[in-house]
Symmetry: C2
């Protein structure tokens, strides 16, 4: 496999974007990535687009072809991929593979979603498609319900408190205030978080990431192309995709997602770095408890200490292992198919040293995108480039 | 790129299958492919699943992960891909690439769809997602409408008659009678076809492929694995994916799909064979006029002669270039995401020499899967193996 570099990035704001169609959002993000890299778009040989609910909420398929047409690309393979909330990370891996395997010298990964036009009921119903409807669906389980079970089990097993979990929300909402792409940043007290509206006990409103509209895009290139770029090259050291439990009955442990554990192990091995080398991580905090579990599954925080790390400020920017300096899903919102590419956008900005909430001396960045009950997972590791 | 071989195939009957879920259909087809090859399923390193309307008609996403779990595969990457009616062909290409690039020694491509439980209105609405809803959708154009325009233009330009077009239907419906996987085979006269219920002038009922339920699966392996197989190896000489017009306003010519022309040219070049080498083709006859246009776009029939070839019996088994000896979409039906893999199942069976409607001395087989208004296309060429 050849070395692969990020040479361009683009992202819309994540939030309520009623004036743009999903295609327009995707074309805008991808155009920005192409324009930033200053390359000839006829050299882009593959396009992958991550999306989850466009069919269900908009009735629109063929997004990959639509967006390729909107971008004025050639008759290249343009493929939509789906792995629930991990769709963006999966699109990224496939664009990576098309460059790494020598099929093309440049490839585009795009994630896009439009959700805020639909009612909460419709969005909840669409997102339930990330569960096995024959098992979890028929039991009445929802995602807030699942993460409620996880939170209860985690706090019981490891002695974490409501305030410990709230500390994750406080940090991410505060980080979001610094991020111009995040619409849902806020300065909140632990009390405001812990007293917010109950959703699915013990999950409360501020424990949940909001749905959103948005798109993000990453342009990848091989070493020959990247060498000629004016911008600092960011190398993709590893990008791994795994699958795990499609419903809660297949989870070995409520406090761990097996697909994350496998993906991170493989990513560390491929990248030849260890957890202590990672300068920061953008991980899948769809709920506050998810950030805690993810940080442990990724090997970045000792098992059972995720909540304490957050409460002690060890996951803030400036702490031992900054988690979600962008504000994460909790402050950026979760336009499902776009999220994984949005994480990589934030990661690349950090490694370039130009993030609005910059981690000092960021050298190795990690991203983690998780789908459903852990049915699909994408983990990537990046390095500030020397080429 | 390494050489890649088909080592196992599986398919359900295509038709009305109300007693099985989409996951069950996919697991059945894939299990048959694995069992036929007699391999250890832990050696299967990637799964790709083609599907188009499961989100819209069933509310179920994560099919790739669900099916991987149902098959008892490992924590391997399991990815759903979408390119409207070409989703199956796209899944096949990605499974091919994962073997050809050395990522894994074995990979599974599966296509699956469930449609017959839904009302005609819902199915029509879901299939409209294969159009650009902002352009064609808002104009009221439907797929029978589009192919009606194509049929009118084609017959006007080339002087083809109603009976010439009906000859395609008569042939495919008759071929379907011989195929145990086809539920919609029939012995029809030209008069019965030409007098059937008008759908979208000049398109009549028998010009349209029916929706369907079904699944098909192909197990691919590298040369080392294929050499140890007991069955006749079938080599994948080329599999090409292109993108074309996402709406009718972007078609250069109503009587040709640019994505098919590009894909077939590239496939012939990669396979190092020419149209005259092809023993038979399974192509995308979603409407009878589509078979005529496709056969010309693929370079198998001279431009403007597709209808005459059908009328003269030159595309029947035993003719110059047998087209859709399986009965095609017209007789098998079109469980959208499954169709591309179903075509490859038929093609492999022909090259093994065991098809119920066998083409004599079949050596090189071709498949062609087309999505939407030609927004996505997949063309593959196979050879009866010497390994």
């Amino acid at each position: 496999m050849d070395r692969v570099y990020v040479i361009g990035i683009g992202s819309t704001v994540f939030g309520k974007l009623p004036d743009s169609s999903i295609g327009e959002l995707a074309v805008k993000a991808a155009s920005d990535a192409i324009l930033e890299a200053v390359v000839d778009r006829k050299d882009i040989g593959a396009l992958y687009l991550g999306n989850f609910v466009s069919g269900m909420l908009l009735g629109q398929g063929i997004l990959a072809g639509l967006v390729a047409d909107g971008l004025g690309l050639g008759q290249i393979p343009a493929t939509a991929v789906e792995g629930a909330c991990a769709s963006g990370g999966i699109a990224f891996r496939h664009a990576y593979l098309s460059v790494a395997s020598g099929q093309t010298k440049m490839a585009l990964a795009i994630g896009a979603e439009k959700m805020t036009h639909a009612s909460t009921g419709l969005v909840t119903s669409a997102l339930s498609g990330a569960m096995d409807l024959e098992h979890d669906g028929s039991s009445g389980l929802t995602f807030p319900g699942l993460f409620g079970l996880i939170a209860r089990k985690y706090c019981d097993r490891y002695g974490a408190t409501r305030d410990d979990v709230s500390a994750v929300v406080r940090k991410n909402k505060a980080n979001g205030l610094l991020n111009p792409l995040a619409s849902m940043g806020a300065a909140l007290t632990l009390e405001e978080i812990g007293q917010s509206r109950p959703i699915s006990d013990p999950i409360r409103l501020f424990d949940c990431c909001p749905a959103g509209d948005g798109a993000a895009a990453i342009l990848l290139a091989n070493e020959d192309v990247a060498r000629d770029m004016l911008s600092l090259p960011i190398e993709v050291l590893a990008t791994v995709q795994t699958r795990g439990a499609p419903h809660v009955g297949r989870m070995d442990d409520l406090c761990s997602f097996g697909a994350t554990v496998s993906a991170s192990r493989e990513a560390f091995a491929l990248a030849r770095v260890s957890p202590k080398d990672i300068s920061f991580v953008e991980l899948h905090d769809c709920f506050s408890i998810a950030e805690i579990v993810d940080s442990e599954d990724l090997g970045l925080v000792p098992r059972g200490h995720g909540a304490a790390y957050a409460a002690e400020g060890r996951t803030a920017v400036g702490g031992d292992i900054p988690i979600n300096p962008s504000g994460g899903l909790l402050a950026k919102g979760h336009p499902v198919g776009a999220t994984g590419l949005g994480q990589i956008y934030e990661c690349v900005t950090q490694l370039r040293g130009t993030h609005a909430n910059q981690v000092a001396n960021a050298e190795f960045g990690m991203t983690h995108n998780l789908g459903g009950t852990g049915v699909a997972c994408s983990v990537s590791i990046f390095r500030r480039g020397n080429i």
